[in-house]
Symmetry: C2
Subunit: 435 residues, 2 copies
């Protein structure tokens, strides 16, 4: 048993009843066992408790990145300011086609270092060679919701092999890493998988009791393709195929009608909003205030570093708070606290772990971060939630804990060799470029 | 004579001919005296030259923040997510009404610390009690383009006194601080100053040979007021009053017609684009690609920390590059290099100092910054300009020089006591809140 007592900190609990609290928090092993204004009673403390001075720090639940492709971090800055098709077909796909296991490992490691150091404690990852990804998540100590994303525009035997691989991965890794790893089943998108192939993923999700994750309605072109080929828009199409009979998380959901928003709400489908990637690729601007009003869980994702170009979830939180004000013309749209919920509580809900993650509350998992607020942009001390959302940065993160274990200490990773990881990412990129 | 030789650095020169250069730069006193791939020849170096290892650093021209109200940094986080009128009339104005000289000084000092540490070397400031602001700029070593912004909705004798004060300030401080301080003449906005009063500012600008700065077309409401009261939209209104017979910089310029864009281009008026403030206050989204296409100089500004809420110009650069892609539906709109120009070269042009600032070039002033690129979000080393714009942050700034003098060294201010400044800003805010 190990125990940590944080004294005199400012805790952004994200608990509706007491969103901000000045006081104390105790972590016993992997869980929060006390949080309150008063110091913990002696009976709540072990003799060998470690004490941490929380003054000058703000603590909040670890951020949850609900959509991304970590291994693509190797392609950061490799192609920007391009038409989507040129970017994808002439730049991304040829490079990704050259990946070997080692590249997936080095790209994912770089992503994990960047995410941890900027305060993300759990992330959704959809890619291939997922065994490599899962091993990196396991050894890093981070939390991952992992899935083999399958493109089904291929002969039937290849389809079968990919499906089998996706199922094997999901089955083998679900619950591993002391429960830090969970898995999903993912047809890549309604426009990259034939309908009968998507149905096989739905069957598998039922059989293995797994949730589903897919890209949906990212661009107008794919909505038009769905209407042309299947006679309906993507939400109805996926609904007909049974995807929403499973717990489901869809990424992007930029182009939606009123009816589609209602259907997502009725089916309890969660949306991963990726505002920066959507802007950068000029995909459009998701109707987030409408989705929230309809009761849809909207969480945040960075998408890959090839279309963002960083994995700093603080930027998605700020962008969600800013962008929808400007677009709607309503300066009260998505207030700071709501944007922060999208990065924490709603993120936990979107990955079906709201009982364990997203708030600082007794009984919850000890996934949390500490922000150094002794910086000019946190002054004067007015509203800490406003400062975190509108002024703060992932670079203000000083410490990070996942499952009660400290993974970042004074800005340095404790389980990962950052310098080696940077070096290997560089070597991988150079090899991909030359091969 | 002092001399600095930076060896083996990566220089983002912003010079059209060689935008990125790996090599050497020599600073002699306040100017760049050498930059090139080869090491400087012995004849270019003094015996007591200081050498700096430039490996692992990226050098670029200091960023130029072309619109703000530094003293309002005291009101960061004091009111967010509010309707503009509530924010302004119930929150900002009552607090600003309580300011005394000391508050202007403490707010401005906090702003200067934040700007310097995040890589801004020159800033435009429009406020009152400008003697306090100028003194802070002078003693900090930073570069400032300062102006007493005057609201003219007051009795004639008060108008006269304010105009006199604005002129005296502009005349007394222009060229001070070894030329680091320049001044402008500023009626606050066409909707807050009667037309005949604006004409008096134009006269003064001619008389003292000063440029003009004003807010313009920030919200639809003020455009409508101009049309209603003066029979034309703000650009034509200001043109008729002679404002554009002077070199002029207008802040915001969100709501423009084609004709207004053409007129701004024809008159050589520069625009300070403040994308984050415009989004946060839900003012709208400026037609930046159209302005650039028309040949208008578009630079960037943070506006005040009360509507941003930080003064980190890297965020405006990134927002300018992202937002206009999403809004236009064109992923090639405002490429990374163009966004970086808006924060450097175009900023210099907007403050009429393009001969001295905004590029790393022989003969230019030594206003430049060094970025620590040994961070995960700068890997792999692909395109440094892309990384700075899409992935970087003001918190990556390691060193800052203005006029050849190092003002930030290893992330710490050399001329300012940051801890004292934070403490005084907090004390000022608490006093304002209670008084």
């Amino acid at each position: 048993m190990s125990q940590l007592w944080i004294e005199n900190g400012t805790f952004i609990t994200m608990d509706e009843d007491v969103p901000v609290l000045t006081g104390h928090m105790v972590i016993t092993d992997d869980k929060i066992t006390y949080i309150g204004e008063a110091a913990p009673a002696p009976v709540q403390l072990q003799q060998d408790v470690t004490r941490l001075d929380g003054t000058k720090l703000a603590f909040l639940p670890g951020l949850i990145n609900t959509h991304g492709h970590a291994a693509m971090t190797l392609l950061r800055g490799y192609s920007d300011d391009q038409n989507l098709q040129v970017w994808l077909e002439e730049k991304m796909w040829p490079m990704e086609g050259k990946y070997v296991d080692h590249d997936t490992r080095s790209g994912t490691s770089l992503a994990i270092v960047e995410m941890l150091k900027s305060g993300t404690t759990a992330f959704v990852d959809m890619y291939d060679r997922m065994d490599e990804v899962a091993q990196m998540v396991d050894s890093s100590g981070m939390r991952g919701v992992l899935t083999r994303g399958v493109i089904g525009l291929c002969p039937e035997e290849v389809q079968q092999a990919k499906l089998k691989e996706a199922i094997a991965f999901a089955r083998d890794w679900n619950g591993k890493g002391d429960g830090r790893i969970t898995t999903m089943i993912s047809p890549h998108a309604p426009y990259t998988c034939p309908p009968d192939y998507i149905e096989k993923f739905v069957q598998a999700a039922h059989e293995y009791n797994l949730p589903m994750h897919t890209h949906m309605s990212e661009s107008i072109a794919e909505v038009e393709q769905n209407v042309r080929d299947y006679g309906c828009r993507p939400v109805e199409h996926l609904d007909r195929l049974g995807v929403f009979t499973r717990p489901a998380l869809v990424a992007h959901a930029v182009h939606l009608t009123e009816g589609e928003i209602e259907l997502l709400a009725a089916r309890g489908v969660a949306v991963s909003h990726n505002p920066i990637s959507n802007l950068k690729l000029a995909s459009g601007i998701a109707r987030v205030p409408d989705l929230l009003r309809a009761g849809v869980t909207v969480a945040l994702g960075t998408d890959s570093a090839a279309s963002n170009n960083n994995l700093n979830l603080f930027e998605e939180i700020r962008m969600a708070a800013l962008l929808h004000k400007g677009i709607s013309g309503d300066p009260t749209a998505i207030p700071a606290i709501e944007a922060l919920r999208m990065g924490t509580v709603y993120g936990a809900r979107a990955i079906w772990q709201e009982q364990a993650l997203g708030q600082l509350k007794v009984g919850m998992k000890a996934d949390f971060i500490a922000i150094d607020t002794e910086k000019p942009h946190y002054y004067p001390k007015t509203d800490i939630i406003s400062h975190l959302v509108y002024s703060g940065s992932g670079q203000d993160v000083k410490h990070v804990w996942v499952d009660g274990k400290q993974l970042v200490k004074n800005g340095q990773c404790t389980t990962l060799d950052e310098e080696k990881i940077r070096y290997e990412a560089q070597a991988s990129f150079e090899r991909l470029l030359k091969s």
